[in-house]
């Protein structure tokens, strides 16, 4: 079991778990830059609670996810993005 098996797409086990291919939005369109001063781009990578979306959901590449995380943290410090959004009162 140590080696990774080459399973074809037709295999029963994998037929129902084919995820849609995700792509890095910043790689695809170079017009959009990650800037901590521009919260409009950053806020789409936050969950409802204000957390940073994980890479497996957002599809970002490693480099852009790193830059994004840094930008979000910087934006939080100057108060233009939330640390958390608490809906429970």
């Amino acid at each position: 079991m140590g080696k990774r098996d080459n399973k074809s797409k037709g295999d029963k086990k994998y037929r129902f778990s084919q995820p849609r291919r995700k792509f890095c939005r910043f790689c695809a369109d170079s017009a959009y830059e990650i800037d901590y001063k521009d919260p409009q781009v950053l806020k789409y990578f936050l969950t409802e609670g204000g957390k940073i979306t994980p890479r497996r959901l957002s599809g970002n590449c490693a480099m852009h996810q790193r830059k994004l995380a840094k930008a979000v943290k910087r934006a939080r410090m100057i108060g233009i993005l939330p640390f958390t959004i608490n809906n429970k009162r």
Binding site: Y44, F45, G79
Partner: protein, 148 residues
């Protein structure tokens, strides 16, 4: 063999955002911006560009304030300037938050950097900085990841 360590005074490029209290008058705001530019000038620095980001709502209460006037400034200076500037900002009652970020570690050509900040290429960036959040349209919908 003996190595001689020469100390080179590096010129670095920084950007700073500081948030002023929202209820300051125009004159008070101008004085504060002037005061901060003076601090930079006194400590062998040089201000390249200062942009007002306008009054914005803060996501969390900072020093009892829910709003603040943002100022963005780009300046050149050595490593001793930033701690001094931040010390002065911390003392100032009218500043509720500040954040300094290093943009360039070693500025080789000072004139080129000055030129850049006066070029139309930078104006686009400045437009993003100065854009009030309320007026920004949500044209980033394609950014929204699925399931979020």
């Amino acid at each position: 063999m003996v190595f001689k360590l020469e100390r080179i005074e590096r010129i670095r490029e920084y950007e700073i955002i500081y948030i002023m209290k929202p209820d300051l008058t125009d004159d008070e705001q101008k004085n504060l911006v002037k005061k901060i530019e003076d601090i930079i000038a006194e400590n062998k620095g040089e201000v390249l560009k200062t942009t007002s980001m306008g009054k914005r709502k803060l996501f969390h209460e900072t020093k009892g304030q829910l709003r603040g006037s943002f100022v963005h400034s780009i300046f050149l200076g050595n490593n001793k300037l930033v701690p001094e500037l931040e010390r002065k900002l911390r003392i100032d009652e009218n500043v509720i938050r500040y954040q300094t970020i290093k943009l360039v570690d070693l500025v080789a050509d000072v004139e080129a950097r000055k030129e850049f900040y006066n070029s139309p290429k930078f104006e686009e960036t400045a437009a993003v900085i100065a854009k009030p959040i309320k007026e920004v349209k949500d044209d980033y919908d394609k950014f929204r990841p699925r399931g979020v």
